[in-house]
Subunit: 384 residues, 2 copies
């Protein structure tokens, strides 16, 4: 079952990175929102509703953003699904357009992490996994070790994800890191949870990204009569990773997320020209692409090292630089992925353009539930 | 413009109050959710999606609830609009049904406040109003003083709200307080922000409420073929209270919330048989009813003291006891209001039943923005 697509009238970002304390969450969000409105040539009065994704912004962050953006009075809602928060806000916005509740909606994903979680995201006091040391990095380190042992993959193949994504974001002016790194740098970086080192991990980041979505009447209101990229569907599944097969890296939640994405969008995996993938850790990019069925189970690391997912390869993944190199202000990431897909589908991504991109997928994963790296997975399928 | 109504297939609550530390947010939420499913005669497998409203539950609280409820795998989203969080979750669920995305959805509002905000809700560090002492109680105290001065209302008339709502919840088994209080007790209570005393203020509470909503296909799936109460529309407006007229108590945000509610539901203020009103403070009930146009501006306090809004009066308000007496676990309140409206529209509210209730309104207000008691207002219009 598919709903009506949402048209992307405009997108905007502020560069991801580390901002000083006097640059607030509201500054970042309003900066991105103004760019999205400007990109669409839309006055702020054209907006019917504001959907904000964030994790650490505190209560009614969206209302504070609306007040400072000068769109006080609208319906404003705040959406939290950990690292999938921005994409979850986008999902609710897409549904509101499809229902006919609104014609033009603004989605903002934002996070000011350096103020709130300076030393890293702290686990919840009630998180028993974290209490025994099974924090996010440890979980992905286990995944990497298991992957290498089960499939004969090498440390170098896993590290190739970081090299690739940093190479891509050399061409992304909104990326936190815009310099290439070498395989030797990844292998020689400070260990975090072996075999993973610092450059296998996405950084702490501040940033914001905004997407202006419109239905058919909304496009007319905005005076947009040329074709614009469309969000065909936004999937959301939750649950634990484990497939019940005993294989830590056969991600059931990714398999289901893929199935839901194809169902909601009418697009199949074979139609994709590029993917923005939640590479919070190098190994995660590989395992999730395999879970979606976009790479063969156990074969993703070797294919990555061979350039299959590099710009110019068969299926470019994370031309933006991904979380590893564009940065990962958690609530902003889902919206930033949609900005990137939009630029790619418009053909204006410059040095990181995927030639002839017509269809793309963005994948986010948020949270950890029940002793597994589960939580929620969002999938956004877009087409030009 | 109206969307398709959502049918209330089942509702459930746990009693609001103060629970010990080993009764977790998940326990409360699952307790309410199981009762809503049981009320509908629905297996948990009938649910297509979970919408959770909470403020203090921490990241991915909804996913933790889903896992413990045994509905892991579904789309789960977390919605935050401060004290309007539960109603905001309900709004997104209603929109998802109207869009045809889902057929049966579960809405849970929940808060475990005693663990997180034992001494009261602390303002955000960046809240400049709070820094100069303009906290929530102070704002409402100013509102009460201004109201009394402008309209010749008495302290006793304002206090009558608390007496009425406590009298109502004597008959509500889910209320935090189930004993009547006297006018003398309200007037003699410990001062909080004069003229308001302790009994003019809603308490710190733990609790959860759940609502199972269905579209037409969902009702068939659940085997429900008799008429059930319907959610006709859920409005959401944000913004500052101030009307620009210089009258602190002429609530622009409430006026707009009312206008949106009538537009979305096709119901007018004259059609209402009862109201569940966000009486976080006694004076707030009066001012908000006036803002909606349900009581004359400046005349609400006298009418309240005369019994206009008491059970048996012209327009019963807060038969449940409201926030003052049912309690106010902030994320749960919007869902609890819908539980109450449902029981009233079914005619099963026992000693607090509003005779012949056919149409009801629930109003929530969340947050403070821009130096005014603004934030977001939700309105839910229901009919049997």
């Amino acid at each position: 079952m598919t709903l009506a697509p949402a048209h992307v009238a405009g997108v905007g970002m502020v560069r991801f990175g580390k901002y000083p304390a006097d640059v607030t969450l509201e500054h970042l969000a309003v900066g991105a929102a103004r760019r999205a409105l400007g990109d669409a040539g839309a006055p702020r009065t054209a907006v019917d509703g504001l959907y904000v994704g964030h994790v650490f912004g505190g209560p009614v962050a969206g209302q504070r953003i609306a007040a400072r953006l000068g769109i006080d009075g609208l319906p404003v809602s705040n959406h939290e699904n950990y690292c999938a928060s921005g994409a979850t806000a986008l999902r609710e916005a897409w549904v509101a357009l499809a229902a006919g509740l609104h014609d033009v909606v603004l989605v903002v994903g934002v996070e000011k992490m350096t103020d709130r979680v300076a030393g890293g995201v702290r686990p919840d006091p009630g998180d028993l996994d974290a209490a025994v040391g099974y924090v996010m990095a440890a979980g992905h380190a286990m995944s990497a070790r298991r992957y290498m042992a089960d499939h004969g993959a090498t440390r170098e193949q896993v590290a190739a994800v970081a090299v690739k994504n940093h190479a891509h974001s050399v061409h992304n002016p909104y990326a936190q890191y815009q310099r290439p790194i070498t395989l030797e740098q990844v292998l020689g970086a400070r260990p975090i949870a072996e075999p993973l080192g610092l450059l296998d991990c996405s950084p702490i980041s501040d940033g914001a990204a905004a997407v202006l979505l419109a239905g058919p009447a909304g496009l007319r209101r905005l005076g947009i009569d040329d074709p614009v990229p469309r969000v065909l569907g936004v999937g959301l599944v939750s649950g634990s990773v484990q497939s019940g097969t005993g294989d830590l890296n056969a991600e059931e939640v990714s398999r289901r997320a893929g199935a839901e994405a194809w169902k909601l969008s009418g697009v199949g995996p074979e139609d994709l020209d590029l993917v923005e993938m939640h590479d919070c850790f190098t190994i995660a990019e590989i395992v999730r692409l395999e879970g979606l069925g976009l790479l063969p189970h156990g074969g993703g690391a070797a294919l990555t090292a061979e350039g299959h997912t590099t710009l110019g390869g068969r299926l470019p993944v994370n031309p933006s630089g991904g979380l590893l190199s564009r940065g990962h202000p958690v609530g902003a990431t889902g919206a930033a992925q949609v900005c990137e897909l939009t630029w790619q589908l418009r053909g204006v991504a410059g040095g990181r353009q995927v030639d002839g991109a017509r269809t793309g997928l963005a994948y986010c994963k948020g949270g950890t539930v029940n002793g597994t790296d589960g939580g929620s997975v969002t999938t956004v399928v877009m087409a030009r």
